[in-house]
């Protein structure tokens, strides 16, 4: 077994950026992301990483600089949270449409108002339609590994799309945990630096960011749609090779617990860990967890495979879409996937842990009990709206 070192989630991400020998880092500080880029700046100042750190005046500029730098063929990293991600929204579409393999880490945090620096998935979910490959870790080791996987996937000529990795603010970013650090040598062997995309080169000039009128625009959207869909194949190959090389195995989803469980919870991020702890502690053979790691492209096949035999499914959403017919974004993905595959399942949405409210083992117990109760009712009697867990009535 390799030596493990105690690192915070943010340091773990920064070490992965170092292992990837990134050329340009442009970012603007925001809690809980700040210490990722601080650590990277420290590496650069100490001469441990030969990169240009660009201090910009906003997140909009941070991603704009990343787009420009990536267009020159450099390996890019940026990171942000919450309002910062919201400010990047416009450029996120441009990065994915220009097919630039930028890697960004989202230290997930609630969106204002009221001002809240704590964790939920409002920011991550708000940018899930921007055409990026998106994944979310459950622990700090995974947050570290995801950055390495991200470059491998982003720069694959079959993909060439930006990749967002995510880790939960504070619950992971500021939590110390044992990490097996990937070295620069190992990292670059796994994801070698190769210019696989069109770049701005005076000897070989191209035009980027030109007008695409109605005669042209549509074709590029179709290309993008296909590329994001096909990135799943590249993800699967990458995790397979990652396991061979580093011994840690990941998949687009992770199933935990008894395969025949009647009650299956679907969750993302650190709360999945709390659910695992609940299942272990209570020896709940009747409860399973389906953790979604790869959110875009959404792993429909595996969602179907693992939910097919469940009696009832509870989706834990840590973001809210007011006024929508579904309430929580993850719930809508699950419902659409099941309905596309003609699976008529009882699925209940739970909104939990907004704005950093901890989702405790007690909350999980309440959710499981509610599902056990609803399991016996006919489908038509299921709640038509999401259930809010732990909110004061």
């Amino acid at each position: 077994m390799k030596h493990k070192v105690p690192l915070s989630g943010n340091s773990a991400v920064a070490y992965a950026v170092k292992a990837m020998d990134v050329d340009v880092v442009s970012a603007y500080p925001i809690t809980p992301q700040t210490t990722i880029v601080e650590k990277i700046a420290e590496f650069v100042a100490n001469g441990e990483l030969d990169a240009k750190v660009i201090h910009v005046e906003s997140e909009h500029s941070a991603l704009s600089a990343a787009v420009g730098a990536s267009a020159t063929g450099a390996r890019i990293f940026t990171a942000s949270s919450s309002q910062g991600i919201a400010l990047m929204y416009e450029i996120m579409f441009i990065a994915s449409s220009m097919r630039l393999p930028i890697v960004m880490t989202i230290a997930t945090r609630a969106l204002s108002a009221p001002i809240n620096i704590w964790n939920d998935h409002s920011d991550f979910m708000a940018v899930s339609d921007t055409g990026w490959v998106m994944m979310m870790a459950e622990n700090n080791q995974e947050a570290h590994d995801d950055v390495v996987l991200a470059y491998r996937i982003a720069e694959d000529p079959r993909v060439l799309l930006p990749v967002a990795t995510a880790l939960d603010g504070f619950f992971m970013t500021h939590t110390i945990e044992p990490i097996e650090v990937i070295s620069r040598e190992e990292g670059l062997e796994f994801a070698p630096k190769k210019k696989t995309w069109y770049t701005l080169d005076p000897d070989n000039p191209v035009t980027m960011g030109a007008l695409g009128d109605p005669n042209w625009y549509f074709e590029f959207k179709k290309q993008q749609y296909e590329a994001l869909k096909n990135s799943r194949t590249v993800f699967d190959e990458a995790v397979k090779e990652f396991e061979k090389k580093f011994g840690r195995s990941y998949g687009p989803v992770e199933y935990f617990g008894n395969e025949d469980a009647e009650v299956v919870l679907v969750a993302m991020g650190h709360v999945s860990g709390n659910i695992k702890a609940f299942i272990e502690k209570t020896s709940a053979g009747n409860v399973g967890l389906l953790r979604v790691k790869l959110y875009r492209p959404f792993p429909e096949d595996l969602i179907v495979k693992h939910l097919e035999n469940a009696e009832i499914v509870g989706v834990i959403d840590r973001a809210l879409v007011p006024g929508s017919p579904y309430g929580g974004p993850l719930y809508s993905d699950v419902i659409v996937t099941l309905s596309k595959n003609n699976l008529s399942k009882k699925v209940v949405d739970f909104i939990a842990g907004l704005g950093g409210r901890p989702v405790t083992l007690g909350h999980i117990k309440n959710i499981v009990e509610k599902l056990e109760e609803l399991k016996l009712k006919p489908q038509k009697d299921l709640p038509k709206e999401p259930l809010f867990v732990g909110v004061r009535e």
Binding site: M98, L160, Y198, V206, T207, A210, W216, E219, F220, Q223
Partner: protein, 106 residues
């Protein structure tokens, strides 16, 4: 839908244009309703129209010209009518009003 244009499978990704200088093929003269006409006798060769033109369509040519008053110039300014959009900034800026915007007749 235009049949002659390439399918999404054939296009370079990310809307990148691979041939340099491809805008030369896009002649913008059709946008013009007024065309600038330079009066070579009035023109004092100050170069201001050349400097102001947003499209670089004022040409500075090594073509000697003798005005009616007998003044000899070594250069002549002419307009590249393939790309001039007829915005009129040259006529507006000309200090001696040597450029006239005349209606385009096609």
């Amino acid at each position: 839908m235009s049949k002659s244009l390439p399918s999404w499978r054939e296009l370079p990704i990310g809307a990148v244009i691979l041939q340099p200088g491809s805008t030369v093929r896009y002649k913008t003269h059709e946008w013009r309703t007024l065309r600038p006409v330079i009066n070579q006798d009035k023109c004092i060769r100050c170069r201001l129209c050349w400097a102001y033109c947003p499209e670089g369509t004022i040409l500075e040519l090594d073509k000697p010209y003798t005005t009616k008053a007998g003044k000899v110039y070594n250069i002549t300014y002419e307009v590249n009518y393939d790309y001039c959009k007829g915005c009129g900034v040259c006529a507006y800026e000309c200090p001696v009003k040597a450029i006239e915007m005349v209606p385009e007749v096609r």
